[in-house]
């Protein structure tokens, strides 16, 4: 266990901060995903055909292409794209996009494709009578959304959001190929310098199991909270 000591002699503190990095990237990614999902789910639910197509195109591509390929696209193409945009605004220098942003965006876009389907399904499963009832009660549209639709949608979507979160958390391990020091990258470094890959990769597996276990517990709590009325 000396290998896991905190401080200069072991890899404990390094792995601890790497775990925080994994949580941070996964958190950023899922929020980027929610943001995209809100847009694309409304596209998919809209009555305009072109928007439907755009929504379907997004979910089909990013759920059908391997995560690693998407990461390579952003890793190698990210700087180029940002510089291209910057050039339009008159900036000519070299811009490097940092590994955290690349990772959060590539995983976020994939996560968003899954969330889009979750949001769409949840909205579609809300009873139409609810809308008529709130109209009769004279609710404004804003109150109708915040007090009637979203609480019900959350309850229905939570188990699936929990799934998406687990997928996103595990997908962050792939960002290690870009050099961002999260759990996998740190284990790779530690395994290389101590020549003990079995120990460090198994420990990485334990860390991931711990994270997925913890999030499962948390989501169960949330599900209980949101189904109080049922």
């Amino acid at each position: 266990m000396g290998l896991l000591a905190f401080g200069d002699t072991g890899w404990g503190d390094e792995l601890f901060f790497a775990t925080l990095m994994t949580i941070a990237v996964a958190g950023a990614a899922i929020f980027i995903g929610f943001f995209l999902a809100a847009i694309f789910a409304s596209f998919k639910l809209s009555k305009i055909k072109i928007l439907n197509w755009i929504g379907s195109f997004y979910t089909t591509v990013f759920r059908g292409v391997p995560e690693l390929l998407v990461i390579y696209l952003f890793f190698f193409g990210g700087s180029g794209a940002v510089m291209y945009v910057a050039k339009i605004f008159g900036y000519d220098g070299y811009i490097e996009v940092n590994a955290f942003i690349t990772g959060a965006f590539s995983i976020g876009i994939i996560s968003g494709a899954y969330s889009t389907e979750v949001f769409r399904g949840a909205v579609q499963s809300i009873n139409k009578g609810q809308f008529e009832a709130s109209e009769v009660l004279g609710f404004k549209k804003k109150i109708y959304y915040y007090k009637v639709i979203i609480p019900q949608m959350l309850r229905l979507a939570l188990p699936n959001i929990s799934n998406v979160w687990q997928i996103t958390l595990k997908d962050t391990s792939l960002i290690s190929v870009t050099g961002l020091v999260e759990i996998m990258r740190m284990s790779y470094i530690a395994a290389g310098s101590t020549r003990d890959p079995l120990f460090f990769y198994s420990f990485a597996a334990v860390l991931y199991l711990f994270l997925t276990f913890l999030s499962m517990k948390l989501f169960n709590k949330l599900e209980q909270h949101y189904s109080k009325g049922y």
Binding site: S173, M184, P197, Y201
Partner: protein
Amino acid sequence: MDLDFISEHFPRLLKATKLTIELTSLSLLFGIFVGVFFAILRVSENKILFFISYYYSYIFRGTPLLVQIFIIYFGLGQVEWIRESFLWIFLKEPYSCAILAFTLNTGAYSSEIFRSAFETINKGILEAAEGLGLNKIHTFFKIKLPIAIRQSLPAYGNEMILMLKGTSLASTVTLLDLTGVAKHIISTTFRPVEVFIVAGSIYLIMTFIIHNLIKFLEKKFGYQ
């Protein structure tokens, strides 16, 4: 879009697709056996067998596939008795390590799919089989299995697509599958967009084929 660039590199990508298909189909084939095996353990009344199956699927579904490949490819070689045993012939090759990791991974997910398929079989059907005097083996092969296959098809179709995408991780252990070759072309030519479009389209075509295959099978095994 540079068509000359695409047509120059397209044959290499297409050749790499062969390895991707090979990895996917072999892992799925072995994975079905692993999955059925652990699903049977899972529904057994023996507590120990239940726990083995439960924790197997819990561990493989709770950790990233990348960790699993790395433990098998980089980690197992460290254990002396494995290096000295006949297993080393397989475990020193990245190809068989990748297939082992994919098989165990898809086996864990499919065991859950098959288990829930077995559990949703209507009790009345089994009672009817008993009433008709069918023995256990007949009931399993003629009644339980066909119903379970039908039940698990939609979820298993998703798992096939996830596995197809999962084989892209073979590129992390030096194999040149579709993603591996795509990465190599990107990093030597710095044309990520074109390569992404071509390689991504090949993946989407394969996804589309799997999707339709499952649809066809669902119709074939349907109740109508």
